[in-house]
C-alpha cells in the first residue's frame, strides 16, 4: 500500500533545489528525463526529492519534536489543557497537555480502560469534563455542544458503530452533508428550493461510496451491512462533512484483514486530502504502519508520546501494557519477597 501513496514529486521544485544545492552539474550521469515512473519512485543517484505530500511534511516537522508526554508541536490543530473527567471516585481522564499536529495522523493507544474513548467524548462535546479547556483550530471549544463541534469541523466516529439501520446507505451518507437547505422544516415542503443542492450532495456521496467500495450497496438498508462495511460507511459519512479533524474510534475493530488494508489506505489518503486524523487503535502494527505520531494513554493520563518506531520502547508504555514488573519472574518466591521489601 505504501507504493500507492508515494509522495508526488514536484518537478519544478526539484529542479530549483537542484540548482541551489549543486554547483557541480551531474547531468552526464542522469537517467533519461522522460521516464516519469522511475522519477516518482526513485530519485536519481545523489539527489533528494522534495515532496509536497502532507505525510512527508508532517514527518519532517515532527522529526524535531521531543518524544515526551505533553510536548509542544509545531502546528497544532487541537490543544487540550488540564482536561479532567471523574466518574465518582474514579478519574477517567486527567490530561495535562495534549496537542495534535495539523495534517498528521495521530494514533491514540493504550490498554483497555485507559480513557481514550472518554477523551474523545470530552473533545467532541458528548461528555462534559469536570475541569479543563481545549482549543480547536484556535477556537475555544469548552461548553460547545456536539452538533456545533461537528459543524466547526471536528467530526468523530463511534467505537460501537452507529449507522441508521432503517435508512438506505445513500440516505446515511446524505445525512452527513454539511450544506442542506432542505433540512429546514418549511423549505423542505418546496422541493424546488433544495433539489439542486440535494443533487450535488448525492454526487458527492456516491463518489465517496465508490471510494469506500460501498457503491453497490447504496440502495440497501444500512442495517443489512456487515460490521466492517458499517465501519466504512460511518467513516465515509463523517467525510461528507469535509472535516478538518476526523476522530476515528477503533476504526479497525472487527474488520477482516483484507478490508483493514483498504481502510488503512483510506486513512492515509485522508491525510493527503488535508484532513487531520486522530484514531484509537489496539493493533500496534497498524499504528506503526500509518501513524505519524503516537500518544499513549494509561489510567487517564498521557504517559508517553513519540515517533511510532520508538514509542513502544518507552518504559512507561511497557509498564502501561504489561505492568511495572513485566521483567520479573513472579513465580520465584525469593524475588517476591525482595519486591515486598522494596515496596
Amino acid at each position: 500500500m505504501a507504493d500507492n501513496n508515494k509522495p508526488p514529486v514536484d518537478a519544478a521544485q526539484k529542479q530549483k533545489q537542484d540548482q541551489q544545492k549543486r554547483a557541480v552539474p551531474t547531468a552526464t550521469v542522469r537517467e533519461p528525463f522522460y521516464d516519469i515512473a522511475r522519477w516518482g519512485t526513485k530519485p536519481p543517484p545523489g539527489e533528494d526529492l522534495i515532496s509536497t505530500a502532507y505525510g512527508d511534511r508532517v514527518a519532517r516537522d515532527l522529526a524535531f519534536v521531543e518524544n515526551e508526554p505533553g510536548v509542544h508541536k509545531p502546528d497544532p490543530i487541537l490543544v487540550a489543557d488540564n482536561v479532567v473527567r471523574r466518574f465518582g471516585g474514579m478519574t477517567a481522564v486527567d490530561v495535562g497537555h495534549f496537542e495534535i499536529e495539523r495534517h498528521g495522523i495521530t494514533a491514540l493507544i493504550g490498554p483497555n480502560g485507559a480513557g481514550k474513548t472518554t477523551f474523545f467524548n470530552l473533545m467532541t462535546g458528548f461528555d462534559v469534563p469536570n475541569s479543563g479547556s481545549w482549543r480547536f483550530d484556535g477556537r475555544d471549544m469548552q461548553h460547545v455542544n456536539p452538533e456545533q463541534v461537528a459543524r466547526d469541523g471536528m467530526v468523530r466516529t463511534f467505537q460501537l458503530t452507529k449507522v441508521m439501520s432503517r435508512l438506505s446507505v445513500l440516505d446515511n451518507m446524505l445525512l452527513g452533508a454539511p450544506d442542506r437547505p432542505g433540512e429546514s422544516m418549511v423549505r423542505s415542503l418546496f422541493p424546488g428550493t433544495w433539489r439542486k443542492k440535494e443533487q450535488e450532495n448525492r454526487q458527492k456521496a456516491e463518489a465517496l461510496l465508490e471510494r469506500f467500495l460501498l457503491i453497490k450497496k447504496k440502495d440497501d438498508f444500512a442495517g443489512s451491512l456487515s460490521g466492517g462495511q458499517r465501519k466504512l460507511l460511518e467513516m465515509a459519512r463523517a467525510l461528507m462533512c469535509d472535516p478538518k479533524l476526523i476522530m476515528l474510534d477503533e476504526p479497525m475493530a472487527g474488520v477482516n484483514p483484507a478490508l483493514k488494508q483498504s481502510l488503512l489506505d483510506h486513512i492515509v489518503s485522508l491525510r493527503e486530502d488535508g484532513t487531520t486524523v486522530l484514531f484509537v487503535e489496539h493493533d500496534i502494527n497498524m499504528v506503526r504502519h500509518i501513524a505519524d505520531w503516537v500518544t499513549v494513554m494509561a489510567e487517564g493520563r498521557i504517559v508517553a508520546e513519540g515517533q511510532p518506531r520508538t514509542v513502544m520502547d518507552d518504559p512507561a508504555v511497557v509498564d502501561a501494557y504489561l505492568g511495572a514488573h513485566a521483567d520479573v519472574d513472579l513465580g520465584d518466591d525469593s524475588v517476591l519477597e525482595g519486591l515486598e521489601g522494596r515496596v
Partner: protein, 324 residues
C-alpha cells in the same frame, strides 16, 4: 341495508377522519422521529377546547382554529423543553400525565364557567359558525346508500371538510417524508447521537416534530367534537390508545397507513357490533355487552395482526428486520 350503510358509512365518517388526523400527527411523532407520545388525546382535547371556547365567546372561525393551533404549540413546547433532552421513555410518561392533567383540569368544577366542567360544551355553542359557512343547501341529501343532513351535526359538510383536511395533512406528511427534513427525523429515530455527531441540532428537530404532530392532533380534536358535544371524558386515555392502535394497524412510518388504519378499525368495529346486534337476541347478550364484546373481538383481531404482520397493513417488513 341500513346495517351495510352504517358499516360502510364509518369509512368516511367525521370521527374516522378525526382519528386519521390524530394518527397522522402521531405518525410524525413516532413513525418518523421515534418520539413516544402517549398523550395525543391531550393535544386533541386542548385543540377542541381552544376552538370551542373561543367560538363560544364569538370569535370568528379562522381565529378560533388559529387559537387551537397556538394552544397545541404552547403545549408541545411545555412538554418538549424539559423532556426532549432526556430519553424517549420520559416523553412517554410526561405526555401521558399531561394529557390527563388537561382532561382533569378541563372537567373540574372550578373551571365550569370556562370549560363547562364535566358536562363539557354543548354543540350549539360552537358549531353554528361552522355550519353557516357551508355552501350546501339546507335539508338532507342521499348519495348512493347514505343519507345524512347537509349541514347540521354529523353532516355532509363536515365530512367534506374533514376529509379535505386529512388529504391536506397526508400531502404535507408525504412531502416531509420524502424531504431532507424527514430524513433527519428518521435519522433521529434510528440514532440520535450519530445525528448529533454529524452536526445537526437534534433537540430542535425533535421539537419541530413534536409541534407539527401536535398541530395535527389539535385539528383532529376540532373535527372530533364538531359532530357531537365537547366532553372532556370522551377525549381521555382511550382515544390515545385507539390512535396508537390505528397507527400500528395501518403501518407506522407510511403515509397512507394512519388513514387506512382508521378506516379499517372503525369499519371493523361497527361491522362486528352491528352484526351481533341483529344476529344475537337481546335476551342472550344485552346491547351494553355487545358494545364491550365488540372491542374484545376487535382486540383479538388486532393481536393476531401484530403477531402475524407486525409491520401493519402497509408497513415494510424489511424495515423490521433491523432493530437498533
Amino acid at each position: 341495508m341500513t346495517i351495510i350503510a352504517n358499516i360502510l358509512g364509518e369509512l368516511f365518517a367525521p370521527t374516522t377522519a378525526a382519528y386519521a388526523l390524530a394518527a397522522i400527527g402521531l405518525n410524525i411523532h413516532f413513525g418518523m422521529t421515534g418520539l413516544m407520545n402517549m398523550g395525543q388525546a391531550g393535544f386533541m382535547l386542548l385543540g377542541a377546547y381552544g376552538f370551542a371556547i373561543t367560538q363560544m365567546h364569538g370569535a370568528n372561525l379562522f381565529s378560533s382554529v388559529l387559537f387551537a393551533l397556538l394552544l397545541a404549540t404552547v403545549y408541545a413546547l411545555l412538554l418538549g423543553i424539559p423532556t426532549l433532552k432526556l430519553g424517549p421513555d420520559y416523553l412517554a410518561m410526561v405526555t401521558l400525565a399531561a394529557a390527563e392533567i388537561v382532561r382533569i383540569v378541563g372537567r373540574s368544577t372550578s373551571m365550569t364557567s370556562v370549560t363547562g366542567g364535566s358536562a363539557g360544551i354543548a354543540p350549539q355553542d360552537f358549531t353554528t359558525q361552522f355550519e353557516n359557512l357551508s355552501p350546501l343547501p339546507d335539508g338532507t341529501s342521499t348519495f348512493l346508500i347514505w343519507t345524512y343532513n347537509n349541514n347540521i351535526a354529523n353532516s355532509w359538510w363536515l365530512r367534506i371538510v374533514a376529509w379535505v383536511l386529512v388529504a391536506l395533512c397526508a400531502f404535507l406528511c408525504w412531502r416531509w417524508f420524502r424531504s431532507p427534513w424527514g430524513r433527519v427525523l428518521k435519522g433521529i429515530r434510528e440514532d440520535e447521537n450519530a445525528i448529533r455527531s454529524l452536526g445537526k441540532s437534534v433537540t430542535k428537530y425533535k421539537m419541530q416534530a413534536l409541534i407539527v404532530g401536535g398541530l395535527f392532533g389539535a385539528l383532529a380534536g376540532i373535527v372530533f367534537i364538531l359532530p357531537r358535544s365537547l366532553n372532556p371524558d370522551s377525549l381521555g386515555r382511550t382515544v390515545t390508545f385507539y390512535t396508537w392502535t390505528i397507527l400500528l394497524l395501518g403501518g407506522a412510518a407510511t403515509i397512507m397507513g394512519p388513514i387506512l388504519g382508521s378506516c379499517v378499525l372503525w369499519v371493523l368495529l361497527t361491522a362486528v357490533k352491528e352484526t351481533m346486534r341483529v344476529s344475537i337476541p337481546p335476551t342472550v347478550i344485552s346491547s351494553n355487552q355487545i358494545e364491550a364484546l365488540g372491542w374484545v373481538i376487535v382486540g383479538v383481531a388486532l393481536m393476531l395482526l401484530v403477531i402475524f404482520r407486525p409491520q401493519g397493513v402497509l408497513g415494510n417488513r424489511k424495515e423490521l428486520a433491523f432493530n437498533g
